[in-house]
Symmetry: C2
C-alpha cells in the first residue's frame, strides 16, 4: 500500500498506470497467472483447495473491474492476516437458523471473500426453491467489494444483491458524531449486452480511498461530504477521512442515513451478529463484519430471457434519453475486455514484489517479471 500511488481514473484503459510512483515500472501479467499465484498463496496460507479456488475467483473478479483498490492490492494483507491467525484459514461455517427462504450463519472468523460467496450461493439455492432467498452471515471479515458476488449471481441468471456492515465511521445529518457504518452494497442484474447491470458503492459520499486519492491530487471536495475531527465542515478530503479522525456523511442527508440503517438491519441484525458499536462476545472487537445476500430468480415471473431483455431495454431507454450515459457495470466490463485484449494486466513492480515476498515465504512459484 505504501509503494503504489493510488489515484482513481476509471476512464483510463489500464488503471494501474495511474498508481505508479515516478520511476516505478509496470509488468504485464496474465489474469490466469495472477489467479494461479492467488490460489497458491491462499492454499499455502492454510485454505483448503476448494476455498482457495473460491477466494481466488473473487479476487480476479474484483481485479478486472479496474478500480485499483479493493482488489488484488489487498491480497498481501489477507495472506499476512491468515498467517498471523487474525483470520481463520479453516473456518467451520455453521448454520444458526433457517426458515424456508431465510438462513443465517456464523462465519467462524473466516475470510469475507469466502463467506460472501458462500451466502450468495446459498441465496441462489434458496431462490431456486422460493423465487427469492436471503442468507446472512456474522463473525466474518471484509468482503473486498460487492461486485464479485453480485456479478456471479447475475451470470447465473439471478438478480443478486449484497450488503455488508462494519464499525460506526459515518455521521448522521446535522450531527458530528460517528453513529453508523457506511453500508457498502451492490447489485447486479442480467442483460443481453454481454455484461450485467452492476452497482457497487457505500452510502457515504466518498470512501476513505477516494478521499485519499483526492488529497494526494491536491483537490478539494464538496463540504457536504464530511466533517473534520472537530465536527466542523471542511472541503479538505484528508481532514474528513477516517485516518484523520474526520466523519464522512451519508448521501442525501437523512435519505442516505435511513438507507444505511436498513443495511445494518439486514446484516448485523438478521445475521444475529453485532449492531453499531456492539462488541463481539468473547473477543470484544467492535465492527466485526456481517454480510447479507439476497437473490431473486425472476424466471417464474417473466422468464430468464425476459429478465435479460427487459433489463437491456431499461438501459437502452436511458441511453436514448442521454446518449453516452455511463451505465453502472459498463466500465467494469470495458476494463475486463481491455485486459483480455491486451493479454494481461499491467501490475506495478512494487505490488509484484509484495506478492512474491509472500510466495517466497510460502514456497510458492513467484510471478515472473
Amino acid at each position: 500500500m505504501n509503494l503504489e500511488k493510488r489515484k482513481r481514473s476509471p476512464l483510463k484503459t489500464d488503471f494501474f498506470t495511474t498508481f505508479l510512483e515516478e520511476g516505478q515500472s509496470l509488468v504485464r501479467i496474465s489474469l490466469s497467472e495472477l489467479e494461479r499465484l492467488t490460489y497458491e498463496l491462499l492454499k499455502a496460507a492454510g485454505l483448503s483447495a476448494e476455498h482457495a479456488g473460491v477466494v481466488a475467483d473473487v479476487f480476479m473478479r474484483a481485479t478486472y473491474r479496474g478500480v485499483g483498490h479493493h482488489d488484488i492490492y489487498e491480497l498481501p494483507g489477507r495472506i499476512d492476516q491468515l498467517l498471523k491467525g487474525g483470520i481463520n484459514a479453516k473456518p467451520a461455517i455453521k448454520r444458526l437458523h433457517k426458515y424456508a427462504a431465510l438462513e443465517n450463519y456464523d462465519g467462524d472468523n473466516g475470510l469475507g471473500e469466502l463467506c460472501g460467496m458462500f451466502i450468495m450461493r446459498r441465496a441462489e439455492k434458496l431462490a431456486d426453491e422460493h423465487g427469492i432467498g436471503l442468507c446472512a452471515i456474522r463473525n466474518t471479515r471484509h468482503i473486498l467489494a460487492s461486485s464479485p458476488y453480485v456479478e456471479a449471481a447475475a451470470q447465473d441468471g439471478y438478480i443478486g444483491y449484497i450488503v455488508t456492515r462494519g464499525a460506526p465511521t459515518m455521521g448522521a445529518p446535522g450531527r458530528k458524531e460517528k453513529v453508523i457504518g457506511t453500508s457498502p452494497m451492490g447489485y447486479a442484474v442480467p442483460t443481453d449486452k454481454g455484461y450485467p447491470l452492476m452497482f457497487d458503492a457505500c452510502l457515504a459520499y466518498a470512501s476513505n480511498g477516494v478521499l485519499s486519492d483526492k488529497a494526494q491530487a491536491g483537490e478539494r471536495v464538496p463540504a457536504h461530504w464530511g466533517l473534520d475531527a472537530d465536527g466542523n465542515p471542511t472541503d479538505d478530503p484528508a481532514a474528513m477521512s477516517l485516518p484523520k479522525g474526520g466523519t464522512r456523511l451519508p448521501i442525501g442527508g437523512h435519505k442516505g442515513f435511513g438507507l444505511t440503517i436498513l443495511g445494518e438491519i439486514l446484516t448485523g441484525l438478521l445475521s444475529e451478529g453485532q449492531l453499531i458499536d456492539e462488541p463481539q462476545p468473547g473477543t470484544g472487537e467492535v465492527g466485526v463484519p456481517s454480510h447479507t445476500a439476497v437473490c431473486i430468480k425472476a424466471d417464474g415471473l417473466l422468464g430468464r430471457e425476459g429478465l435479460a431483455r427487459r433489463t437491456s431495454e431499461l438501459i437502452g431507454r436511458m441511453e436514448a434519453r442521454a446518449p453516452g450515459l455511463i451505465v453502472p457495470g459498463k466500465r467494469s466490463s470495458e476494463s475486463r475486455v481491455g485486459i483480455l485484449s491486451r493479454g494481461g494486466i499491467d501490475v506495478p513492480k512494487g505490488l509484484i514484489d509484495k506478492l512474491n515476498e509472500r510466495a517466497s515465504l510460502l514456497d510458492v512459484t513467484p510471478l515472473t517479471g
Copy 2:
C-alpha cells in the same frame, strides 16, 4: 392545493398551522371523523365498502405523520379522478404470474392506495410461507407515500419495504437530461419502543414539494440538488423543480442513480409494467406507476420478540453515540401522539371546504366546522 400554504416544519407539533394563508382559520377534527368522511367519500365515488375501508386507513396513516402533503390533502384530487374515470373505482386486480414467494399483478388502473396495500398484504402472506415474499403490481396509480404500507407491515411483525416508479423526471450525474424517476421507497421494522423504525423518501435530493416550500419561503438550496431548465446548476429551488422544467439530481451522484435503477428493476420490470419512458400499451401514457412490496418474516431467524428488541438496541446504540439523534419514524410517531392527545387534528378551513364540496356533491354528511 391553492388555498393552503405548504411549508415543512416537522418539529411543529401541529403541522397544519404552518400551511395557513394569513387570516385562514383552523378547525379541529377528530381522526375518526376525518376517516369517516374519507371512507364515505370513497364509497360514494364508487369503491366497494372493503376497498373504501382499506384506502381510508391508508389516508389516515399518511395524515397522522404530520407531513402536510402526500396525505389527506390529496383526497379531493383522488375523488375527482375517480368521478372523472381517470382512476378505476372498481378495479379487477389480476394475477399475472406466481412462482413460490414471487407474484406480480395488473392493478386495472385502480387507486395506488388500494393496490399498494394489496401487494403489501400479499407479501406478508408470502413471507408467512417462505420467510420472505415479493409482490409487484403494474397499471396502477400513485401510492400517496410509502409509510402507510410499511407501517402496517411492521405492526404485523414484518420488516416491510415498498418501492414505486413513475415517469423519468430525475437526472443522472454529469448529465442534464431527465433519465429516470426518483424511486420513492420506504421501509419499517418493528421495535419495542411503541413505534416502528420507519423511512420514507425518494432518491432525489428533494421532492418537488420540498422545492416548492423552499421557493415560497424565499430560500436557496444547495446547487448539487439540481439543474435549471437549460441544464445549468442553480440554487433556486423553483428553477430546479419539475413544473419549471428543471431536473432534480440523485443523492450522492452515481450512488443514488444506481440505487434508483434498482428501484426501476424491482417495480417496472418485475411487475411486467413499463420502464423509463415506455408508453403503456393501449393508452400510450408514459409514467404509469408500478409498485413492489417485500416483506421479511424474521421470526424463524431470531423470533418476533428478538427482532423488535434488537431493532430497539440498534436505535439505542445510535442514540447513545449521538444523544437527541432524530431516528427515522420518531417524528411521525410524535405527530400521531400529539394529534391523539389533543383529541383531533387542526385542519385549515380551506381543505375542509374542498372536502365538503365533494361531500355535498356525493350526498355525504359533511365535516362540521
